[in-house]
Point group: C2
Chain length 198, copies 2
């Protein structure tokens, strides 16, 4: 004997989410069963609204309900500098600093051989075309300082240097508020390599 | 700046699930965004089907698509013995042993002062009424052997003894295949207390 089919189906659907195993999926289904119908309806509608109304900006791949996102259509932003990020969470993190006034390019993922994503999956043609058409002067690469992010940064940098645009990488080193004593070896090595004159 | 409203709404809806925090909810939403519309539609439909078609059996509170579940309507089961379990997962675990041939009563939760659930929330009137009407001879209490489950077992046992039905508790002790050496103190104490003649 197992759960009724409807329960089993929803458990296997919830299990598809990243980080959600069979046990968590079971808990989610039983939680839903105990909640009023209204909650389930809002959830189901929220999921479909997300798919039907939200899309990727045709220029930078940021999330938007229109063809182009609010950043790309904002005339007050610096149109000549681009920041390349892996995904929307990273874009948002940089926006929160309030110090970057240029535009973005969202990669929607990094090069990751373990997940079968190679350089060709970055779809850089769109980026290089945009740089040429809009006369972009500088591209800041803000991918993560991990293996995937570094590989991605190096590949993009090679592609972009070939078309003659200035390419920079965000500073990597010891976090502000931290201590030299506690920095790990890779961070300290990177920190020494990216020293600058004061 | 934050995510578009549609994204924020769905993140907060996913965050309501037990064990799902803001970060997991974000990952779930972005996963959905990258999947085909078909996946989202199936998920949304699965959620509504669950709420609209599935209900609790009017007799034992097991899950069912009809008024009464397949166990309660099965004439081959022993109609005179009831097993009381905390929830559907526990019912299923006992069914998998294939050795219990009676019927069930699902409590839908145990007494839990920390979650504000007292003895009155067990809704035992339905259980006592069923025992009297159907002439049940024995009730096996199979709540968990933790604080909440033990409190619940003691309370139910007191209520049921008052109406004159035989009440038993599932055996608590050292798991089969384990060793006296590795059993924790409470388990070993319980194991000694529930010894039986051989």
């Amino acid at each position: 004997m197992s759960y009724p089919d409807l329960v089993e189906q929803l458990i296997s659907q919830f299990s598809q989410f990243p980080g959600v195993g069979r046990r968590s999926a079971e808990r989610m289904v039983f939680w839903l069963l105990q909640k009023p119908r209204e909650n389930a309806l809002q959830l189901a509608e929220g999921i479909m609204k997300l798919k039907d109304r939200l899309r990727f900006c045709k220029i930078c791949q940021n999330l938007t309900e229109n063809d182009n996102c609010r950043l790309c259509t904002d005339p007050h932003r610096d149109q000549k500098i681009l920041c390349v990020v892996e995904d929307h969470k990273h874009l948002l993190a940089i926006e929160r600093t309030g110090t970057f006034k240029g535009l973005y390019h969202v990669l929607l993922g990094a090069i990751s051989p373990s997940e079968g994503r190679g350089p060709q999956d970055l779809l850089l043609d769109k980026l290089t075309q945009r740089i040429k058409e809009k006369g972009i002067l500088e591209v800041v690469i803000a991918t993560d300082p991990d293996t995937e992010g570094e590989m991605t940064a190096i590949h993009i940098s090679n592609v972009l240097k070939a078309i003659g645009v200035k390419v920079s990488r965000i500073g990597l080193g010891i976090p502000v508020g931290s201590s030299v004593e506690y920095a790990d070896l890779s961070t300290l090595t990177m920190s020494l390599a990216s020293r600058r004159e004061i």
